[in-house]
């Protein structure tokens, strides 16, 4: 991750790794506007500069004629050092086609809005450097989810699965009024749940999992990971942990996972999802063995 990857990958847009002369898109836009440039011109200009990135973006709108049949639109976006896929689609939207629709908000990989299928892999657009990708960069909505419009997918099912694991701390003894006694937790235990707690609900893992694609009821890696966070937290009691395992153990729970590892591979937060799922399977088996 921390290695510099700046090789130019295409002939089409040879990019200078040391390129330093770039302005921010905002500046450039402003400069163009001041000189009275309009959209077509900026496109031409962009091409002239030679340093453009070619992106192909999936388009679909159930309502608009001409977009009802899914198609790909091509955009050529001026490249600058450090540009991410999100920057490129924002540019395409603001400069070429304001109806280009996608979710995004934080631009820093914490809100989980912009997981797309980029060059055949689920990635966060804001966290993916264009320079790392082969061109043309193909940008599609997450597979296996219903497309609402362009890159926007219906996350409803994903949320349902997340909610299905009772994703909240359960501690019936929580005092209602003030003077809360601090609960203690060892740093080791906190370390154990650290990775699992980093999930930003982007849905990339769920989209990458063939089992989740085939079995709509499968809880999916993100929800199981969410449950892991609670099940492994020592602050919750043993009974509640057992209750959690029972939820995970149902037919469409952990057992459905076939250790495909694609979830682990695509997770932008580097959560070892498969490992967590496997650990829960073992926990569940151990718990059942106790009753035998």
């Amino acid at each position: 991750m921390s290695t510099q990857q700046q090789e130019p990958e295409t002939q089409e847009a040879p990019e200078d790794p040391e390129m330093k002369g770039a302005q921010s898109p905002q500046d450039r836009r402003l400069a163009e506007k001041e000189s009275g440039a309009i959209d077509e011109e900026s496109e031409k200009k962009a091409e002239l500069e030679g340093e453009t990135v070619h992106i192909k973006v999936f388009r679909y709108d159930p309502e608009v004629e001409g977009k009802q049949e899914p198609r790909f639109d091509d955009f050529h976006v001026p490249f600058e050092k450090g540009m991410t896929v999100l920057d490129a689609v924002i540019y395409a939207r603001d400069e070429y086609d304001s109806s280009l629709t996608f979710r995004h908000s934080c631009r820093q990989a914490v809100c989980g809005s912009d997981a797309f299928f980029i060059n055949g892999k689920q990635r966060l657009a804001c966290k993916t450097q264009l320079s790392e990708l082969e061109q043309p960069v193909r940008i599609e909505p997450l597979p296996h989810q219903e497309v609402v419009k362009d890159l926007v997918v219906d996350m409803g099912h994903f949320y349902d699965q997340m909610h299905a694991v009772e994703p909240y701390f359960q501690d019936e003894d929580t005092p209602e009024v003030s003077d809360l006694e601090e609960q203690h937790q060892s740093p080791e235990n906190r370390e154990k749940i650290k990775m699992s707690s980093r999930c930003i609900w982007c849905g990339a893992c769920m989209s990458s999992c063939n089992i989740a694609a085939g079995d709509n009821q499968y809880l999916g890696p993100a929800a199981i990971n969410k449950a892991y966070k609670f099940a492994m937290d020592d602050r919750e009691s043993e009974e509640i942990k057992e209750h959690r395992l029972r939820i995970l153990e149902q037919e469409h729970g952990v057992w459905r996972c076939q250790t495909q590892f694609s979830c682990t591979e695509v997770c932008p937060k580097d959560i070892p999802l498969t490992e967590h799922i496997q650990e829960l399977k073992r926990e569940a088996v151990k718990k059942n063995l106790k009753f035998w």
Partner: protein, 121 residues
Amino acid sequence: MAERYSSFVPGGTAWLLQRITAAFLVVVLAFHFFQLHFVNHAADVTFQGTQARMSNVGYFLTMVLFLIAGAFHGLNGVYNALVNQGLDGTPKKVVLAVLTIAGVALVVQGTYVALAMAGWT
């Protein structure tokens, strides 16, 4: 939401058995292959040879267990694969029934064959 999953079916037992049979199968299958392709070549198999091996009670029992394990492992695997593809509701019950019957039939037939081989029929 949560209610949707409330039909509590522990998949854990089948999952564990799938692993246990797998571990068992590794050993026996290796033995089986070795026995019938390397020690005795398949082409040279005769009823006599088979009978000699099968009438050993230990071998007989191993082979029957091998069969049971293989049948369970294979059919449970198939069932799992189908459930993974979203098999649900009545078809799922039907498939489970069919697979169980096929499995039982396979084991019964196989055991009968083994008995015949051992000459204990």
